[in-house]
Amino acid sequence: MAANPMTQFEVYRIGPEIKIGSFDISFTNASLFMVISSLAILIIFNLGSKKNSLLPNKIQLLAELSYTFVSKMISDTAGSKAKPYFAFIFSLFMFVLFCNMFGMIPYTFTVTSHIIVTFVLAAFIFIGVTIIGFIKHGFGYLKLFVPSGVPVVLLPLIVIIEIISYLSRPISLSVRLFANMMAGHTMMKVFGGFVISLGIVGGWLPLSFSVALTGLEILVAFLQAYVFAILTCIYLNDALNLHH
């Protein structure tokens, strides 16, 4: 009777089918919300940086606060060496945040609730960080897997654990974001379905839950974007500073 809560994640083609070779790169609803999120970011930050007044207006304040927020996050976790990667982490944070937030509007599509999207982002970060690490430290980057102050007997075990944890970084990073977004949206859909199935008499309780969940999900949307960005900073810090 209740609506399948997973239908909201379905991807469908908008417009004609586009193919390059054997690859289908048609414009879908997912692509639409990627474009909308990116455009929204560009418009807001373009307006926020257009004119410089000593006393910033609201949109300029928003842009500058986001700038200093991300800048502080990077310098706190990865130090001053991470400055060249500021633009990437800023765009990453904003992209994930806007995709999450657009997903909170009813009848929209949540780009980040798809494992393939988050995995591509995470894999790109993982490969990029690994390349940066090897460029900065050469084969000395492998010291990352050998923590100092560990008894020699335990060393082989620790090294294996470290390698596994390093290799699982893209998976944990992508699954964390994807699962959070999917679970939240599914839960909201389920509660929405309860409102309908219980009707005007008993539907008030799930409705109030639904309202509360919406607030929670907005928090989660921000938090997951923040976590995604800050974990990227931490991985970058490992590659740049090699603390182990």
Partner: protein, 196 residues
């Protein structure tokens, strides 16, 4: 209000009913690889454009804006600091002038007092000296008179005694013998002879 919500819920019911009947596929649509390539392609495209535009156009502008504001505020603070310092220096100058003039006034007062005191002292000394000299002179005169007095007295005594004797006896008595007696008497002390 309740009526409105009621009608709204009925209105939204149609949306959900439509979905209820259209929902047929099971499982997670995320694991359906049909549009994976498309999603990867559009993600790379949109994120790439976003990154390039942000990093080349927008973020440098925001950074410049922030820097400009920071430097402007810094400049203002520095200017304020400078003005504060200059006003402090002026205040110090003023205080120094006040202290200096106070010291000067004190010195002038002191000098005047000393001068006056000196003047008085010197005049006093002069007067004292004059008085001393006068006293000494007078004492000398008195001394001289004192020294001369016994001789004169003796002379007078001799003369008077010789005249008395002449009148009494009617004959001249040798002056030298009278003088001897007078001397003798004056040496022994007149009081014993003359009584009270």
């Amino acid at each position: 209000m309740i009526k409105k919500i009621f009608f709204q819920s009925i209105f939204f019911n149609f949306f959900f009913l439509k979905e209820v009947f259209s929902a047929e596929s099971g499982g997670m649509p995320q694991l359906n690889p049909e549009f994976w390539i498309s999603q990867i392609f559009w993600l790379s495209l949109t994120f790439g454009i976003l990154y390039i535009v942000l990093s080349k156009l927008i973020l440098p502008k925001i950074s410049a804006n922030l820097e400009l504001r920071k430097s402007q505020i810094q400049e203002n603070i520095e200017a304020a600091e400078k003005q504060r310092q200059s006003s402090e220096a002026k205040l110090k100058e003023y205080e120094e002038i006040v202290v200096k003039s106070k010291i000067e006034a004190k010195n002038i007062f002191k000098d005047a007092r000393e001068k006056a005191l000196k003047n008085i002292n010197s005049k006093k000394e002069n007067l004292d000296q004059q008085i001393d000299e006068e006293i000494k002179k007078a004492e000398k005169e008195i001394d001289v008179l004192k020294k001369n007095a016994p001789e004169k007295i003796n002379k007078i005594a001799i003369e008077t005694s010789s005249e008395i004797l002449k009148k009494l006896i009617g004959a001249d008595v040798n002056n030298s013998s009278i003088s001897a007696i007078v001397d003798d008497l004056s040496k022994r002390g007149g009081n014993k002879y003359y009584g009270n």
